[in-house]
């Protein structure tokens, strides 16, 4: 199982990361310049019967994905509530969606725009949402998403999605480097294991990135 705590020698991920040696920014308030970014909540990553889940089952390893799909279950419900809240306030919603060029990505990422490449139905984009499809890991690869957010004058970015240690990690880091205040909604994301979820969230938090729960983000929007 993936876990950031290597058992061979005691390690830690929570001790002061370098970025937290500087004073933190003031407490963030989500305003009309805030947007929600939904990353890779696509069928291949969220539905156990296809994509990742099917590959694992074919190898007889489906039990290994228990923690991941448990997290996906929570994350998709929380992402739905975030979408509802952002749309109710007229705040922009962005989707980043992954396709792969043949031979350039892990085999569970679809290479054609088939049904497994769709965003799962309960989180599907609505008219007015911005959907950016990419072929690289990072949602900001190629610049299209940044351009769309710049055009929408997005200053604060709330991020939810799959997988925390991959595309979501990239979105959070690059979103922050573009000068946006980023809120990672930890319980609206899933990682391969519970341990890795805690580890990546702890590593991303701090500096200009805040890690928050769905409840807290909903309260910030209220």
């Amino acid at each position: 199982m993936l876990d950031c705590q290597r058992r061979r020698e005691p390690t830690t991920v929570h001790r002061t990361p370098f970025k937290n040696l500087v004073p933190p920014p003031p407490t963030l308030r989500l305003t009309e310049r805030a947007a929600l970014l939904v990353v890779d909540f696509q069928v291949f990553a969220a539905d156990r019967t296809v994509g990742l889940g099917r590959l694992a089952a074919e190898r007889g390893l489906d039990d290994e994905l228990e923690e991941y799909y448990e997290q996906v279950g929570f994350a998709r419900r929380n992402a739905r509530d975030l979408l509802t809240a952002f749309r109710a306030r007229g705040l922009p919603v962005f989707y980043s969606r992954r396709l792969a060029l043949p031979g350039t990505a892990p085999p569970w990422v679809p290479t054609t725009d088939d049904t497994t490449a769709s965003v799962i139905p309960e989180l599907a984009p609505l008219p007015g949402d911005v959907v950016v499809t990419r072929t690289a890991t990072s949602p900001f690869a190629g610049g299209a998403l940044d351009a769309a957010m710049t055009a929408a004058q997005v200053e604060s970015l709330v991020v939810a999605g799959l997988i925390l240690g991959g595309a979501v990690d990239c979105a959070v880091r690059e979103g922050a480097e573009q000068g946006r205040a980023v809120v990672l909604v930890a319980d609206a994301c899933a990682a391969e294991t519970h341990g890795l979820h805690d580890c990546v969230a702890a590593q991303l938090g701090g500096g200009v990135v805040r890690v928050r729960s769905t409840d807290v983000v909903l309260a910030m929007l209220a």
Partner: protein, 331 residues
């Protein structure tokens, strides 16, 4: 019942003179149950909640502490997540250790349900009643008030509770001990909410010298710690041994630096044990880590015995004393 006598320390077996308590751990848990806190249905339950519910295991630990020379423990669990002052009294009677129980309010998720609907004065009144009449349906009185903040700012119901703690202090004279949640520490200048806590308390008429700023060794900044000391507050290194926050070696160096700069009279030490895996029966370092492991490290780093004794004995004896109450000060 009456208010506790200023100058004494209120323990679960009644008031004692400050000279009676000896070496004191000023922030520990002996009996608690975080499963009683409001849990979010939005995520899986905590893998390892703070639950201590094995009396014999705790008594083993306390016996060890007594053998090492410890005289007292401040048990900082409050109503809302399993405080049981009658149990603490049993522990005290069976171990021979003084135990100081705590009133006040923990983080928002662990507040008693009714607290969310009460205003500041009503919240304060609940605390004063615990101090005058006893807590948890017993005549056993707490000796410390706790204020806890889980966000990077003092706001909402936690803010009301903090003000209530301040007002209860002015009526009762009980010292105040504070908590900052580790999840918020990287967004707060200095790593704890201590400075903001002192601002709020002082605005409510509480002198900084009546306040123990806790959990300063989760994300410390020595400049911030010195500033807290300079304001007159106690600064408490209370997660000693939890090296996922900070190495004990770093703690020792920071303490030595603070002592060298003249702040020894403001420093308190503890380990904040709260989970079964913290305890020796379950493979953890136990409460004994402070005296058996950390104090030798302090000595090895060059800390003088006098300073060690100040932090372990003299400062708790002063910090835990019931303060003169507001009307006694102003009359």
């Amino acid at each position: 019942m009456s208010l506790p006598e200023p100058g004494s320390i209120e323990t679960v077996r009644g008031p004692v003179p400050p000279s009676a308590i000896g070496i004191t751990h000023t922030h520990e848990h002996l009996w608690c149950d975080q499963r009683r806190c409001r849990s979010t249905p939005r995520w899986r339950p905590l893998a390892q909640p703070m639950v201590l519910d094995e009396p014999e295991v705790i008594l083993e630990e306390l016996a060890e502490l007594r053998g090492l020379g410890v005289g007292a423990i401040v048990e900082t669990t409050v109503a809302g997540w399993g405080r049981d002052v009658a149990r603490l009294r049993q522990f005290s009677e069976r171990s021979g250790l003084h135990i100081v129980a705590t009133s006040g309010y923990y983080v928002e998720a662990c507040l008693p349900g009714e607290a969310h609907a009460l205003d500041v004065d009503m919240l304060a009144e609940r605390l004063v009643r615990e101090v005058t009449d006893g807590a948890d349906g017993t005549p056993i009185r707490p000796g410390v008030l706790k204020s806890a903040i889980s966000r990077p700012a003092i706001e909402g119901v936690e803010g009301r509770c903090a003000r209530a703690v301040a007002r209860a202090h002015r009526v009762t004279g009980l010292p105040i001990t504070t908590h900052t949640s580790a999840t918020a520490r990287f967004e707060i200048p200095g790593g704890t909410i201590g400075a903001a806590h002192l601002d709020l308390f002082e605005a409510e008429g509480v002198p900084a010298g009546a306040v123990i700023v806790g959990h300063v060794d989760e994300n410390p900044d020595v400049r911030h710690l010195e500033a807290l000391c300079a304001r007159g507050a106690y600064v408490q290194f209370d997660v000693i041994g939890k090296e996922h926050f900070l190495l004990d070696a770093t703690r020792a160096r920071l303490l030595l630096r603070l002592v060298e700069r003249g702040w020894a009279d403001h420093l308190l030490l503890s380990t904040d044990r709260a989970r079964p895996t913290d305890l020796r029966r379950h493979g953890g370092p136990g409460y004994r880590h402070l005296l058996a492991d950390f104090v030798p490290r302090l000595r090895a780093s060059g800390m003088e015995e006098r300073a060690i004794s100040t932090m372990l004995v003299d400062n708790p004896a002063r910090a835990l004393q019931i303060r003169p109450r507001a009307r006694e000060v102003t009359s």
